[in-house]
Symmetry: C2
Subunit: 332 residues, 2 copies
């Protein structure tokens, strides 16, 4: 890739957008020009990139002239409306929203797993759901070794997954409670401080949420495994920025903890943190702001056959979003 | 039962002990004399019962003379050492610790499920693990209808389960973080504020914790179902006093959401709270200080056959401990 790419970040003032700009800088992505884009409301704000102040521009249909790569993270509606304009202008879009993830013309990529799929793109590539990406970082190596059949998972998702306003809402609620003031939920339907909400994304007629079905639907595409099944319960917890997932996975072939540990050792992007005797296991607080996901609490499942129970954690804004998106851009 | 029972509460200054005294009063248990007992360190403190101040006595081998019922909630070590003295003195012990739960001579009781087992007692009755009791409030009616085979569960357990010191630790950590002071974990091995810990109770050689195996072991006894299997991941979350459990349960017979809802409607001690369209589902914050457990998010499991996914929440100090113990005493 020649230097001096013009890179647009759509949603530059959001939690993921801000992280994308940091990741571009930290990984020395060959950015010639950074173009931070956001809604009219946020236009005029500034971001810092390589020590320089860059003014956020309003996102319009004409924003993408001369743009090589456009990283979108401003929700499915914005992607739906503006990604086609970016493609038309000649940019390659890496989209962090759910808009194109199930579109057969759009590769859905976790670089460590199916990086080769990028070559099939037609102008747009999709970044998977955060909980799915983090879970697959541990599940995929196990799948390669033992052949995964199905997964039961329950998540512990940080407020960063909802965005910058949710981070502020948790902080505000904690301050209000500490000061004895009443709590006014606004981003979430109920108080999130000192509570957990079994409600992430909108409900479907089946009773599952859209978020809960992403692991099955997206993992099938990413792992090239159309028969994969996953029953997931997604839960928002009062944690600021890393997700954790409790996973029970059933495999085609017999498994052992020893083999699983071997398989999960030295995997790029994944750390094995599994020494219960020393109180060492993945924790969202410690994995926050780290590129690598962590897996631990590995044990032989005592209710399913040929199955393992384990615990994965990963920074939702990094591997769950900004890092993975920039890694996709690096593959191009 | 004639009036004027002398009731000892062992661990009267702990989180569960304090709640036991409130429950005795609220349910108009026929207490003639209340005898609050605790360690030498806490002796001399006072508790309030029916508007009167009662002084906490030091627990000794001779504390139980004239006691009819002794409610123990001061940890397994204290139960092991002192319950035999209570029995010898003629008291009936209802023990909230894990000490006697797997002892075949000790009935393990959830009154709504196996209240009839109380008659087999030989002086000691055991109160089940809090997460198990709350889960079974929803699982047992489903078992009666469909025949449960196995369960995969992940818990979201409040700090109250660890005790009064843990409640204080969460509060202190939140204050320290808000004030920009460093956090000093002491009750838990890691910070609990804005974090989740996949670590409740001590680790076994299998990699499961003792807490995680309680659901399988205790549910087998309570449901009279020796082949029942449960793979559980127990996680501590920064919630003050109610537990939540994400459950995937596989049954012998075909299930439907409609039938499950019917089965779970009107069950004593359980409320069906399952209207996702109105953002209504069980929440630990709202179930706190309530006697009834709540079940919701009921859906047909999309990874297991003949299976349901659902979400249960219950006050850990009440149904998970003090209420259930007093309900057992009421059966006597």
């Amino acid at each position: 890739m020649s230097r001096n790419k013009t890179v647009a970040v759509v949603g530059a003032t959001g939690a993921v957008g801000a992280e994308m700009i940091k990741v571009l800088e930290r990984r020395q992505f060959p950015v010639g020009k950074l173009l931070p884009l956001a809604s009219a409301r946020s236009a005029g704000k500034t971001v810092t990139f390589r020590g320089e102040t860059v003014t956020v521009q309003e996102l319009t249909e004409n924003s993408f002239e001369g743009v090589d790569i456009a990283l979108f993270s401003a929700g499915a509606g914005i992607s739906r409306k503006f990604a086609p304009f970016a493609v038309k202008a000649g940019a390659i879009v890496v989209d962090n929203s759910s808009e194109f993830r199930m579109n057969p013309d759009v590769p859905l990529i976790v670089p460590e797993i199916n990086g080769g799929d990028v070559k099939c793109h037609k102008g747009i590539l999709a970044n998977p759901n955060c909980t799915t990406a983090i879970t697959l970082m541990a599940l995929y190596p196990l799948h390669k070794a033992f052949g995964v059949k199905r997964v039961i998972a329950s998540s512990y998702q940080a407020v960063s997954g909802t965005g910058a306003q949710a981070i502020a809402e948790l902080r505000q609620q904690v301050e209000d409670i500490t000061a004895g003031r009443p709590v006014q939920p606004s981003v979430y339907p109920h108080q999130i401080a000192f509570n957990v909400l079994p409600h992430v994304d909108v409900f479907l007629d089946t009773g599952y949420t859209k978020e809960e079905m992403k692991m099955q639907n997206e993992a099938r595409r990413i792992m090239h495994l159309p028969a994969f099944k996953a029953s997931v319960t997604c839960v928002r917890v009062p944690v600021y920025r890393a997700h954790s997932i409790s996973v029970n996975a059933e495999f085609e072939r017999p498994v052992s903890v020893e083999e699983a540990r071997k398989v999960l050792t030295g995997v790029p992007g994944l750390q094995l943190v599994d020494d219960p005797a020393q109180n060492r296991y993945p924790l969202p607080l410690y994995v926050a702001e780290k590129d690598d996901c962590q897996v631990g609490r590995i044990r032989l499942d005592c209710a399913l056959e040929n199955a393992l129970a384990f615990w994965v954690a990963g920074d939702q804004l990094l591997k769950g979003a900004a890092l993975n998106a920039v890694q996709i851009a690096e593959l191009l």
